[in-house]
Symmetry: C2
């Protein structure tokens, strides 16, 4: 039996307690300052309100002020906050981590420096930790297609990839989580998996555009569909994720699998980001969409602002070309600058996306 302390009690963090508890591990769920009601509910009734389901009986819930107790004797620290909470979580972990602990993070996103340099979130998470402790703690993260409610529903098969630099640590972590429904692979392409995780959120927002465009044309609900449009965006998204691998140093094969196209597929099937994309498709400027979804976390939109916003800076420094990442640039225009949706098809699938391959497609126009 291993003790796993989870910082954050959102639906994904809590869902992960199911395979852990099924394997007989000691899971301690620590709410953030935003999770007080969740922890209260679990303490009183066992029910997680967001998941709308009882957590496993052996899982214990703690308010943030009880975090010290919750982390006592823990071998694994699961950072269960989303991309907006990573810096905060790093500060908390600074005092909670002990030498030898394994940190596993679930946030999907990236951070950009002033000059446009992009960093993966586990680096941000580790930043708050004292330099002498840093090398005594391992850092890993979860990628791949995993909707929380399906993991918590059990027996819903879910395939994920645990990524980090230390293969031994990954093997240990994978063993803790593996059940007959939660299938875990490991990858030492830490950067590649994390970049895929961040980018798929960007492109999946666009999966909503097509449906919104039909609504605008009053054709939604009819037999009319607009899947060709979404599929073309999916394909260009995959091309650009591979391109980002080359730029940042991830393995080119990582996007072709769970972390890349697998996760982009699941995220494109629905959820808040796709809903935001749908509203954009109806013709609303994104600032208006944002107003209509008050308090709703939109990690895809946030990732577009961060990563898309870095592209002009990287272009200015000569690191990428102006014709690189045409879809992500357009998404950034729409989300960050309220530009209207006007897909620049002719800029997609160009030879600029190709090296080190000869050429993916010969250009059309």
């Amino acid at each position: 039996m291993t003790t796993v302390s989870v910082l954050g009690s959102g639906i994904m963090a809590t869902a992960l307690s199911f395979p852990l508890a099924d394997n007989g591990h000691d899971v301690r769920l620590v709410g953030t300052h935003l999770d007080r009601d969740i922890i209260d509910s679990i303490k009183k009734t066992g029910v997680h309100p967001g998941l709308d389901r009882k957590v496993p009986e052996t899982v214990r819930a703690y308010q943030l002020e009880e975090a010290g107790e919750a982390f006592e004797g823990a071998e694994v620290a699961l950072s269960g906050v989303n991309s907006f909470g990573v810096r905060w979580a790093g500060e908390q972990l600074a005092s909670l981590l002990k030498p030898g602990m394994m940190v596993l993070s679930i946030a999907k996103g990236m951070e950009a420096a002033e000059n446009g340099d992009l960093r993966i979130l586990p680096e941000v998470l580790a930043e708050g930790v004292p330099p002498d402790l840093l090398p005594q703690v391992s850092w890993s993260a979860i990628g791949g297609p995993s909707i929380a409610g399906e993991v918590a529903a059990r027996r819903h098969d879910t395939c994920v990839v645990f990524a980090g630099r230390d293969a031994d640590v990954l093997r240990k972590l994978a063993t803790l989580f593996r059940t007959d429904y939660y299938h875990v692979w490991t990858s030492t392409d830490f950067l590649g998996v994390e970049v895929c995780a961040a980018l798929k959120n960007c492109y999946a927002l666009g999966a909503g555009f097509a449906e919104g465009m039909l609504e605008r044309a009053h054709r939604s609900g009819s037999r009319d569909r607009n899947y060709n449009y979404s599929a073309a965006l999916f394909a260009e998204g995959a091309v650009e994720i591979v391109q980002m691998m080359r730029l940042l140093g991830g393995r080119p094969e990582t996007p072709i699998g769970l972390a890349g196209v697998g996760d982009m597929y699941v995220t494109s099937q629905g959820g808040r980001n796709v809903r935001a994309g749908r509203l954009v498709g109806t013709g609303l400027p994104f600032s208006e969409v944002r107003k209509r979804m008050p308090g709703v976390t939109l990690e895809g939109a946030a990732a577009i602002v961060v990563i898309g916003g870095a592209l002009p800076k990287l272009t200015g420094r000569g690191i990428i070309k102006p014709e690189d990442f045409p879809l992500l640039r357009h998404l950034h225009g729409v989300i960050a600058k309220d530009e209207p949706l006007n897909m620049p098809w002719d800029t997609f699938f160009g030879p600029q996306n190709a090296p080190p391959y000869e050429q993916i497609y010969e250009t059309g126009d």
Copy 2:
């Protein structure tokens, strides 16, 4: 104005007459022996019954016995039959083609020899053509995500790739078809695009399994979803398509774009193959599913039988390993041998799928 004669008047062949007619070309639609009612309907009312829409006014319809007239002076021969009709279409084209004509094919599938060797359909199509005529005709094909009804609905953006060995021919063909909604790229990876087109049909059938499994558990229609399952299959499908590129000699980047993940995405969104997969997911043996869908063309199931059936032969000859293509092998067991659905998760994403890359994932178990 260019004359394009289309052999076959199914919904995809007919849909392609829309961009051609919009560009002012002379389109002549020739029905097969199975299309008599379609041609009658177009001749009388202009309406294609399958598309449930009028074809463009300039498009002329011909019964099969009028094919000679329809092909007179044609510069392009569009082979508009599906994978089941390719051999027949080749025999027809043998007497209809003239030196200098460009053939463009839309069928998606593969053919296997007795020993398991796999061939792309344009090769089968060309087989019936007299040897002296063969080098005087060019052969190309269309790949990428393109649902016929959306192309025919116009203004529904569709991105496709025209593939062949002759870049000049591809440029000419692309120019004939390009409109502001029908976007055409070209690729000289003829084999790669065609292999993607065939394989995506196999894997997309599996996109229905998850929904069927929920129905079986009486959870369909509830908030419960099973997208993680479908996404994992999508990811493994992408891995196996890349692996097939290596085996048959396509470019490894071709699956990452319109022809591969783009087309697999659109095909996974619905249609007859997904419906068949859904019924399999409910627990029915495929032979029973087949009975419940009488007369329905299932190109995905057919491709699974052909390509999946070739795998043991290729394994026996030492060309692939027993652990290669685990998902396609399981699909073959389900579709061709009535085996029950029992996803072999632990065999997915293995290092056997990796070379020439180092390793996609370290194995789990």
